[in-house]
Symmetry: C2
Subunit: 402 residues, 2 copies
């Protein structure tokens, strides 16, 4: 498994670091990351909508949006979720310790944690680790990769993405890091992403642009449909590029780059999904609203029967169409057209003659599978990514570790 992006650099004015401090037992595995801007940032965030969510989600959410953010401190190995009042105190304590080292206010530090649910955060390793990670800060690509590596739980590769373009007369860069969404090993949860840019953004635009990007990336992936307690995507914009006010065209270009970074990180998460043999792209087109297209795509993506059929290279269109039918969206099956890897399997309410063996061979022979559902009810569409469900996934998730 290789990362999607070859080499990502930090935007101007940002530094990062990652190291092992001891939240995880294995000294060879990083577990603490830090992202810092040398000047105040506009910061926006999108969080899990799970009513059961970790202490870091509560603490970061109450500090956003803001215009004076300076850093994100992030640990893996313990999600500090379902830990009550002590968990909140521990999350605040992490930010206070980082702020003290960085010489900023506690409220200007955001916090994320990922790992085991329901265990109290161990303060001892972080007490030594946070000063160490501040001392390790660097602006190079290796520092960014170290930080991306320190976010990993069951991920098999660090996930970074970068885009840059001339905007407002200067080069503007967006760099993002993420960790995987699969709640795979026992108690492991969480998709986390931190996206940094040296563009200057108004607070409202930062939040709107991040929401737009997340809705078309992290919210359009599903491994097994179980929503984590800790999902967090943060955007920090520090303005260090020093561009002139952006014309509408450059504003659009920025949004497009942000969408691309988010989508590339989201796809990397699917690429790294535990036990998966296939990456599945689902296009649903021709609905009155994007929300309706989304519900159909998600019903198909979350069906264990669709996922096992793909694992078995079985062009089992009945499972796909029946999942669309229970998505809670008004549709008539006679209007639905289904293609898998470009092969027409269903149209006009009745089976279509197709070479099942050839379609199966096509699924078996490549890692990517494309499911296309077309309806004639409107002009809205959605693209959704998921993976297949294999016996290996079950084995990994049923592993007894308590």
């Amino acid at each position: 498994m290789k990362p999607l992006a070859s080499f990502s650099h930090l935007p101007q004015g940002f530094q990062a670091a990652g190291l092992h401090c001891g939240v995880k037992a294995d000294p060879a595995v990083f577990d603490l990351a830090l992202f810092v801007s040398d000047r105040p940032c506009v910061a926006a965030g999108v969080f899990t909508t799970n009513l059961v969510h970790g202490a870091p989600v509560k603490v970061s959410r109450e500090r956003l949006p803001r215009t004076t953010a300076r850093a994100v401190v992030l640990n893996s190995g313990n999600s500090n979720a379902c830990t009550g009042a002590r968990g909140i105190a521990d999350a605040r304590w992490m930010t206070a310790l980082a702020a003290e080292q960085l010489g900023c206010f506690e409220d200007d530090v955001l916090v994320c944690s990922t790992g085991v649910i329901g265990r109290f955060l161990p303060r001892a390793p972080l007490t030594a680790g946070i000063p160490a990670v501040v001392a390790a800060l660097g602006a190079g690509a290796d520092s960014l990769e170290d930080a991306a590596r320190a976010m990993m739980t069951t991920d098999t590769f660090p996930k970074t993405s970068m885009r840059e373009a001339k905007l407002g007369g200067v080069t503007v860069r967006i760099s993002g890091v993420a960790k995987g969404a699969a709640m795979i090993a026992p108690n492991m949860a969480t998709m986390l992403a931190v996206i940094m840019t040296d563009a200057a953004l108004p607070t409202d635009e930062a939040q709107a642009a991040l929401r737009h990007a997340v809705d078309r990336s992290f919210n359009c992936i599903s491994v097994e449909g179980h929503m984590s307690t800790s999902d967090t995507v943060l955007l920090l914009a520090n303005g260090a590029a020093g561009h002139a006010p952006l014309a509408a065209q450059d504003q659009n270009r920025f949004r497009q780059m942000l969408d691309e970074v988010a989508a590339e990180l989201a796809r990397a998460i699917i690429r790294d999904a535990e036990g998966a043999d296939h990456e599945i792209t689902i296009d649903v087109r021709g609905l009155p609203t994007r929300g309706e297209a989304f519900r159909i795509a998600k019903a198909v993506a979350d069906s264990p029967l669709v996922k096992t059929a793909i694992a078995g290279a079985d062009p089992n269109w009945g499972r796909i169409i029946s999942a669309a039918g229970y998505a809670g969206v008004a549709l008539d099956e006679r209007d639905l057209t289904l293609r898998v890897n470009g092969n027409l399997l269903y149209q006009a309410g009745a089976p279509v003659e197709f070479d099942a063996a050839a379609v199966s061979e096509g699924i078996r022979g490549q890692r990517e599978v494309h499911i296309e559902i077309d309806l004639p009810q409107g002009t809205e569409s959605v693209r959704f990514w998921t993976c297949d469900l294999t016996a290996e996934y079950v084995r990994l998730n049923a592993d007894y570790t308590t």
Copy 2:
């Protein structure tokens, strides 16, 4: 695997039969069932809410409710779903052929089919089979079991249930048969049940009582959360017991018996769920409405992470609580109490000390697992049944058969 109920008899005035006619290839496997009343019945039905549904669902639904039903003809091996106008014509043809043999009107025959989606129904075996199954009709327990056996697809045992009681001065009986819900083998779909009684019921009461029973039985089970295209539960009441008009107490007793028959059949489906090692009973209590309790129970039941944790005998309470958190029901995790097999695992927003090894041993050592979620928000509750998710399930569903 053994059936739940040892021996079930038909109510008075009913006959049944089951045999092999050739929809399935294996001559040793039954594939055609018939249930007949010697007099007109009040008939009610509850059907899949999937917008993509089989031709038999369309045909039976348009004939209900009615007061003159006489029979249900049912085949396995082909679900006649996603088969367009030809499928509807085929389903009607099945009822016409049965009606001709029985000497009744076509519209008084209901029809169900289960099996492969998207293949046209083979008329040749049914042309010979329907007269043969009429000739085979009998009122004995063996006839009922033959019919239950002919409904089976990947079921490993026939599912029957019976209750009887003195109501309105005479013995009234309710007998039901069902087949499994797991959409397990490729293209296999469907839960079907036919419940017969010799009680006399007004049409409205038949529909209301059936809805009540289904909401507490078949609608409270989930194998993998994929809604079938063909789910059908039918109730036929022929009044042959000849009871006096039922007093309120006897009406309630009848409803209770119907609930019990439906619940016993539903539990038998879970007991027979493909690849499952554990049957899981989920009790959610203390919500303002039953619908809210239901949504929490279903979110927990449908989470692959909860199901794989049980398969691995892992008392992984974080997965259960986080599933409750995304059920779309307002709740505060600090109010939630969780027990697994009677062991307190979570309370008051923080982890509880418990002997994880002992709880795990308890899960591993018995087939039944009990999850209890208590909230202090109201007085409504729900009981839901599901099963674990094993590598064997994935293997069965990924099997390539095209």
